[in-house]
Subunit: 216 residues, 2 copies
DNA sequence: GTCTATAAGTAGATAGAC
DNA sequence: GTCTATCTACTTATAGAC
């Protein structure tokens, strides 16, 4: 009698330990340098366990990303719906907040400090297979948010709004994944210890950038 | 009688072709997936040529980055000096411009469209060796620009300014390296064909974010 | 300077015992 | 479900001929 496996939940112990170990090592070293052997060693599992549970290394890597991105993107769309349901003109800061806050929340709540580094790594260094997964997981978010921003910034050319959306994604990814560098830059003046204050700083910066005047 | 080799200049044909091929393949595939074999094949050189000219794959990779980053960071510091030499209070937009414009200029002038992708890849996915090179090449830029920004934003907490510097680097890297994605997002509405207009959009966005009000 | 040939190591995947 | 042992493929680096 095996435990019924609910996709994305804790399910079997070994399976979950493999995901945790993979997330940690991919965050520390990158997808290519995190070998199946190092992952199974850290998870205290056998080398063959990856093939058994995920079919291949690629299957494991896909699930590492999918298990965090599913709740993050669900929260984003829920917050966007709430924001757009308010009466009056669309609230620019609310839209930015709906995009920026959920990943910080999930990383904080799930105690998943390594996932930010995993994310920025594949975002900028995707293999062909990861590119497909990312497109699949982000398509709805991209469409809904860029549409909302175009409505919220009616005086801006849509081409400018798409660029500003892209700028937002860039700051967000770099902050989630490389925020630890700021501690070095600044000699400890800035730090990532309080994720809430970092995400608030980010919301302020991005909202102001979004609201900048257009080309003269 | 061999051609005297000036570091960073065109020097020997094979050497330069190896650098160009490496830049292209690292941009397309990442450092780890770009093998020495694929690089020497594309450069129409022999497998052993990398060891001969650069000592190792790591030596080749380092020079791929150093040959573009040297002029980029030199231009940045020159533009910052000019900006700070102006009378009156430091010009925020001028500082942002000094950081943002040089990489776009060098990529455009050197016909090096792949270098942006190389850069964002190692920035977010550095091996231990690359981390050292990046620290070495960026230390002066980080110190000078963060200092100038703290002066230009006297009403802001330095911790906030360091974060905003980090946000700027994030948008810039993501735009230089992943700008081609915007063409997909936007269904062709936005594009990277005119680098000058992209860098101007970026300067506007970042300057507005830098100038945002602080915490209440 | 350029080449061939090969060394020495490590990757992911899997067959088959338990 | 878990394990050991092994296969095949590919990596970088290098010795030594030309």
């Amino acid at each position: 009698m095996t435990t019924p496996s609910i996709a994305g939940s804790e399910s079997h112990g070994t399976r979950r330990q493999l995901l945790d170990a993979a997330e940690q090592l991919i965050g520390e070293q990158g997808v290519d340098r995190a070998t199946v052997r190092s992952i199974t060693d850290l998870a205290a599992a056998n080398l063959a366990a990856v093939s058994y549970h995920f079919g291949s290394k690629d299957g494991l890597v896909r699930e590492v990303f999918a298990r965090r991105l599913r709740p993050i993107n669900r929260q984003r769309l829920e917050m966007l719906d709430q924001c757009l349901a308010q009466p009056g003109p669309p609230d620019l800061e609310g839209i930015v907040r709906a995009m920026v806050i959920p990943p910080f929340r999930v990383l904080s709540a799930d105690q998943a400090p390594n996932f930010g580094r995993c994310m920025v790594r594949v975002l900028s260094d995707p293999s062909q297979e990861m590119r497909e997964l990312l497109m699949e997981m982000f398509q709805e978010v991209i469409e809904r948010f860029s549409g909302a921003l175009i409505q919220a910034l009616p005086e801006q050319d849509p081409a400018e709004v798409f660029w500003r959306f892209h700028f937002m994604v860039g700051t967000m990814a770099h902050t989630l994944g490389m925020g630890h560098l700021v501690e070095e830059y600044s000699g400890g003046v800035s730090h990532m210890r309080d994720l809430d204050s970092v995400s608030e700083r980010l919301v302020r910066f991005v909202t102001a950038g979004m609201a900048a005047e257009g080309t003269g």
